[in-house]
Symmetry: C2
Subunit: 500 residues, 2 copies
């Protein structure tokens, strides 16, 4: 029995080695690679990706999984062996359904689409991107056709990012949060605007970097198992449970972009670093879904990093470090500024109160395209109409509207909702954590995060991909993904800040 | 005809992708990897190495090469196609001779030997390393047995680093240089010692780094196709003809270690960067042998970087940058100091006049071990005896003697002589370059290196591995590797400095 499992682990270990190697190549591409290396790097990534795929979908792996499913049929489903067989089987079944020619065609289409998108965005001309996106939507329909019919065709896409989630689940969850968030945003827009002018001046980059490192260290980031580097777009990448790296960015006159990027990516990193060490080189390592991953990054960034308790501890040092910029700025004034709500055009710059609206807009458009009810040519108009409806603003051009995100150009439809789901899960977990650790706020006020991290490790991180997203949320909080805690959180927090 | 060549190129391209990916993993290991990543990195490198080997020695590649050898039998041997078939066939024939079990056994033995060597060196206790080296010598004999008998068993080892070179060639070459170098060293030791005390004080690291970058840039290093990072041991690594990276190191109170490391590695990098772009992802890319590679690094480091003309250009800026340290130090005094001759214990710190002696000593010991005439247990004693004979000094312990080099612990016997051969080739090329570019010295005096680099590119770099080392040296200089130019160079240079 264990012999076949060992064989499977050995082969999947090599697949993991190839993917982790590719991960390092990608990390290097974003951090240190000289421009001359780009073409060769493309070839290297293509070869590693191809070999990993060939090795993974080999008939041997299929046979091993088949045998192991029989062997583990009666085993405790919570055992690591049973979980490995289940998760690897699901990955395998998905992978073998997609013909290699389709993968190759997709790679070509999305490479061209990515270039066209960059050009279109630079020129703010949707027509440049349109034929490519039409092709991608066509491929997306084809991709869906490789899988058994689901309740909704969009389910197939969603399942790649959130195993087991259905479109109807997401719609229902979002329906619960949308009207309340719209209402909150309207109420805030009628309140007195918050002054954050002192956050739009120059801050020394090196000192910001050091401050970010200090925060990540306090959070529990283990620098012997990771590092931080500079990159144009912040991300977290891992090549082992014990080698997890984050990046941060510097934006002109925007110190909080650097600080909150570091906290966000540290949240992702802590999740990866917390996986059970037995899962190394196996499909069980890492986060169980994008939404649950995002719940961790957003928790450390927002529920911790944008809380009053957090800054009660950090603000005195921060103010001393940037005494010129923060001269006369009280803790309360600073806290309000980093939580300023302002409907804006760009998703990645959105505040907590408006962020989800950007996501819901995208989800509706994606579902429309997948259902065939929304033509690509009509996207810009529908986008702009919805922006007025949800956020009360009209994009002046498509670069600041429908062309702002990279995702569709890479063929990634079905991805966006995970961002909003992550926000919801973060608040849902937070209520449970605070029930279990009633003095958490006091601990944060003293710069102590070990009980919080310990709780997350034990309840969530250590399990890696062993449980599906809805199952682990249920296991921890007693219910599936629920929007109520997030609505409560937003209402209380912003009600206080804006005196609603 | 071209269809099979294209097939071969495609497969070898994938082999190159895997090896280049492994190269990046190795680079990262030495530069940025956090300690926690070490174990996973070992697995990743093992998997990439295994897959590259399997792909390369596949029967398909063997058949393609066989067919292509027939097809190219009458082709111009100087054509790229014929060269590719020849070089790939030789690599293939070597690779298939070595059984995978032997490769696996070697990996295990050398991993343990490397650990033992580190412990032995730290304790200065040869007995810790001895059984491991005995095993390595045993494996070396086994390795040699996989190949057809050569004129000398050591030829098989040498051929891995210097294709086509024989032990008798190297012995003959070294016999030409040894007595003259011994004589020179004796003469120098009777002369007035050079003062280099100002090179053994603290120099600002950042300024040294910047100065090194300035020199590399002047040499013609293209920063859009490479970069420099910090590492404990300087090295050059490349993952494409257009992504070639160097590292440098900082040593306490030793500014020249940093500067000359940068120049040395820049020399290696310029060779790699100069390969014909058509050779990308093929076995023809890169340097033709270790010795020829070393000729490039040593040329830029020594013939250029330790010349009077070079410092006539750079010293005024250098002195201004480090005005405290170099107060009252004239150009002549500085030049003498960076060329100070002093028999020393450690090879990597040896000056130009004594360096080759360290190599000859090692070569004799290696040959002794391969011939079975020198037992591993007798190594320390023989080492110390030869140190007295060649350099007039006795190592106070084995850490500063027989245990100083990493090479044997990795199973690399046959490697050392390439360092000395590189020195000889550098001087041999230098005489030819100066005949072709009579005003080279004046150009260097003005900080101009483009004619020199252009010459090297055209005559040597562009050919990559297309010609074997002895053939390319012959092609460029009109004779095979010859020690006379190096002896002339040393005699003139040090005769002048020491007034001999």
């Amino acid at each position: 029995m264990s012999e076949k499992l060992d064989q499977l682990k050995e082969t999947l270990g090599e697949v993991a080695d190839l993917r982790n190697a590719a991960g390092l190549l990608g990390w290097d591409q974003q951090t240190y690679m000289p421009p001359g290396g780009a073409e060769a790097r493309g070839n290297q990534l293509a070869t590693l990706g191809k070999l990993a795929q060939i090795k993974f979908i080999s008939p041997e792996v299929g046979k091993l999984l088949e045998d192991l499913r029989s062997e583990y049929a009666g085993a405790d489903p919570g055992s690591d062996g049973a979980a490995l067989v289940r998760v690897a089987s699901r990955d395998y079944d998905k992978a073998v359904r997609v013909p290699p020619e389709f993968v190759a065609e997709s790679a070509i289409v999305t490479t061209k689409a990515h270039e066209a998108w960059m050009e279109a965005r630079a020129k703010s001309d949707f027509s440049v991107f349109r034929p490519h996106l039409e092709k991608i939507v066509e491929l997306t329909h084809k991709y869906i056709s490789f899988f058994p019919p689901a309740e909704h065709p969009y389910d197939t896409l969603l399942d790649d990012y959130e195993a087991g989630m259905k479109t109807s689940d997401v719609k229902k969850i979002f329906d619960g949060v949308r009207p309340k968030q719209v209402e909150l945003i309207k109420a805030i827009s009628k309140s007195k605007a918050v002054d954050d002018s002192f956050l739009h001046v120059k801050y020394n980059q090196e000192k910001l970097w050091d401050f970010g490192v200090q925060i990540a260290t306090k959070f529990g980031f283990d620098w012997s198992k990771g590092r931080q580097d500079k990159a144009p777009h912040p991300f977290c990448a891992n090549f082992s449970i014990n080698d997890v790296r984050i990046t941060t960015r510097f934006e002109k006159d925007n110190p909080t972009a650097t600080l909150f990027s570091t906290m966000h990516e540290t949240g992702h990193a802590l999740y990866e670093l917390g996986s059970n060490q037995d899962f190394e080189r196996s499909p069980l390592a890492g986060g169980t879904s994008l939404a649950v991953h995002e719940s961790q990054s957003r928790m450390w960034e927002n529920l911790v990093g944008r809380s009053m308790a957090f800054w009660e501890y950090f603000y005195p040092t921060f103010k001393k470090t940037f005494s010129n910029q923060l001269d006369g700025v009280s803790l309360k004034k600073f806290y309000n500024a980093i939580n300023k709500v302002q409907p804006s055009l760009i998703r990645v710059n959105a505040d907590e109160a408006t962020y989800n609206m950007h996501i819901m807009l995208r989800l509706e458009l994606e579902i429309g395209m997948v259902e065939g009810k929304l033509a690509v040519k009509d996207l810009p108009e529908v986008w702009n109409t919805k922006m007025v409806e949800y956020l009360g603003i009209t994009p002046p051009n498509d670069a600041l509207g429908v062309l702002q995100d990279i995702h569709w150009s890479g063929g990634a439809l079905g991805y966006f909702s995970t961002y909003a789901l992550g926000n919801l899960i973060s608040a849902q977990l937070w209520e449970r954590i605070n029930a279990d650790l009633p003095d958490l706020d006091d601990q944060i006020r003293e710069g102590k995060f070990d009980a919080l991290l310990g709780w997350l490790r034990e309840k969530l991180h250590v399990h890696g991909r062993k449980y599906d997203p809805q199952d682990i949320v249920q296991k921890i909080t007693g219910s599936k993904i629920d929007s109520a805690p997030y609505v409560r959180y937003l209402t209380r927090k912003f009600g206080e800040i804006y005196g609603l």
